[in-house]
C-alpha cells in the first residue's frame, strides 16, 4: 500500500462521514419541523434516507464492493438483508392480521366464526 492509497482511503472516509451526517440531519429536520404532511410519505422518506446511509456506510466504511477481496462479504450481507426483510415484514404482516381478526367484539366474533364456518373454512 502506498501513500496514494492512504489519501484515497482518507477521502473515502471523509465523504462517508459527511454524507452520513447530512442524511441524519435531514431526517431529523424532516421530523422536528414536520416538513412532510402525510405520515406514510414521511416514514417512506425516513426509511429511504436510512437505507441510503446504510449503503454509504457499507461502501465507505466497510469497503464492500464486487471485487475479489470483498465479494464473499457482499454476497453474505445481501442474503442476510433478504432474511431480515422476511423476518420483519413477515412478523408485522402476521401480527397485524391477527390483531385485525382478534380485535372484534364478542358478538362480531361469533358472527364472523359462523360466517366462516358456513364457508367450510
Amino acid at each position: 500500500m502506498s501513500h496514494a492509497d492512504l489519501k484515497r482511503l482518507l477521502i473515502s472516509y471523509c465523504v462517508g462521514f459527511t454524507s452520513a451526517l447530512v442524511l441524519s440531519l435531514v431526517a431529523y429536520f424532516i421530523v422536528t419541523f414536520n416538513l412532510i404532511s402525510s405520515s406514510v410519505l414521511t416514514m417512506a422518506v425516513l426509511l429511504l434516507l436510512a437505507v441510503m446511509q446504510l449503503i454509504i456506510q457499507l461502501v465507505c466504511f466497510l469497503h464492500l464492493g464486487l471485487d475479489r477481496h470483498s465479494r464473499d462479504r457482499t454476497i453474505s450481507i445481501g442474503f442476510t438483508l433478504i432474511m431480515m426483510l422476511v423476518i420483519v415484514v413477515g412478523s408485522l404482516w402476521v401480527m397485524r392480521n391477527l390483531d385485525y381478526r382478534m380485535g372484534m367484539s364478542p358478538e362480531a366474533m361469533d358472527e364472523y366464526m359462523i360466517r366462516q364456518n358456513k364457508k367450510g373454512f
Partner: protein, 194 residues
C-alpha cells in the same frame, strides 16, 4: 518473507470472513428485536406513548456521537495500517471516548425513563424498547472493553500482524454497530413522531 506474508494475508482473510458471518447472525438478532418492537409499539397499557417519551434532539446527539466514533475508528485502523502508531492510538482513544459518551447518554436516558416510572415492566411497548436499545448498548459496552484491550496490546507490543488483524475486526464490529444505531434512530426515535 513472501511466504509468511502470504500466510498472514490468508489468515486475515479467513478471520475477516468468519467474523463477518458472525455479524450477519447479529443482523438477524436485531431484525427480530426490531420486529418485536414494531409489533408491540401500540400497546402502551396506560404508560407513556413513544411520542410523549422520546426527545429527538437527545437521540440526534447520540447519533452524532456514535457516527463520529465510527469515523475515527476507521481512521485509526487506516493510520495503524500505515504504521503511524501514535496517531492511530490517539484516534482509537478518541473512538473509545466517544463510544463511552454515547453509552453514558444512553444510560442517562434509561435512568430518566425508569425514574419517571416508565420501566420495561410498564408496557409491551417499553419492554420492546428496552430489549432493542439495551441489546445495542450491551454490544457497545463489549466493544469498548475490546477496544481498551486492543489499545493496551498495541501500546505495549507495537503494530504486529496479530494486532492489525484484531483491530481490523474491531473496526468491522464498531461500524456495524453504528449502522444498527441508524435504524434505531430512524425507526424508534424519529418514527415515534411520524
Amino acid at each position: 518473507m513472501s511466504v509468511s506474508r502470504e500466510r498472514v494475508v490468508e489468515k486475515y482473510a479467513k478471520a475477516e470472513l468468519g467474523f463477518w458471518l458472525y455479524l450477519m447472525t447479529d443482523i438477524i438478532l436485531f431484525a427480530s428485536l426490531f420486529a418485536t418492537y414494531m409489533v408491540l409499539r401500540p400497546n402502551i397499557a396506560g404508560g407513556m406513548s413513544s411520542s410523549e417519551l422520546f426527545d429527538p434532539t437527545f437521540a440526534l446527539a447520540e447519533t452524532v456521537l456514535l457516527l463520529m466514533s465510527s469515523f475515527t475508528c476507521g481512521l485509526a485502523v487506516l493510520f495503524l495500517r500505515f504504521r503511524y502508531k501514535s496517531t492511530g492510538l490517539t484516534l482509537l482513544a478518541v473512538t473509545l471516548l466517544l463510544g463511552g459518551m454515547f453509552l453514558f447518554l444512553e444510560m442517562y436516558e434509561f435512568m430518566e425513563f425508569i425514574h419517571e416510572g416508565q420501566s420495561w415492566q410498564t408496557s409491551g411497548f417499553l419492554s420492546g424498547f428496552f430489549a432493542l436499545v439495551a441489546t445495542h448498548g450491551l454490544h457497545i459496552t463489549i466493544g469498548i472493553l475490546w477496544g481498551l484491550v486492543l489499545f493496551w496490546y498495541i501500546f505495549k507490543k507495537g503494530i504486529t500482524a496479530n494486532a492489525m488483524r484484531r483491530v481490523s475486526l474491531f473496526s468491522l464490529f464498531w461500524h456495524f454497530l453504528d449502522i444498527v444505531w441508524i435504524f434505531i434512530f430512524t425507526i424508534v426515535y424519529l418514527g415515534a413522531f411520524v
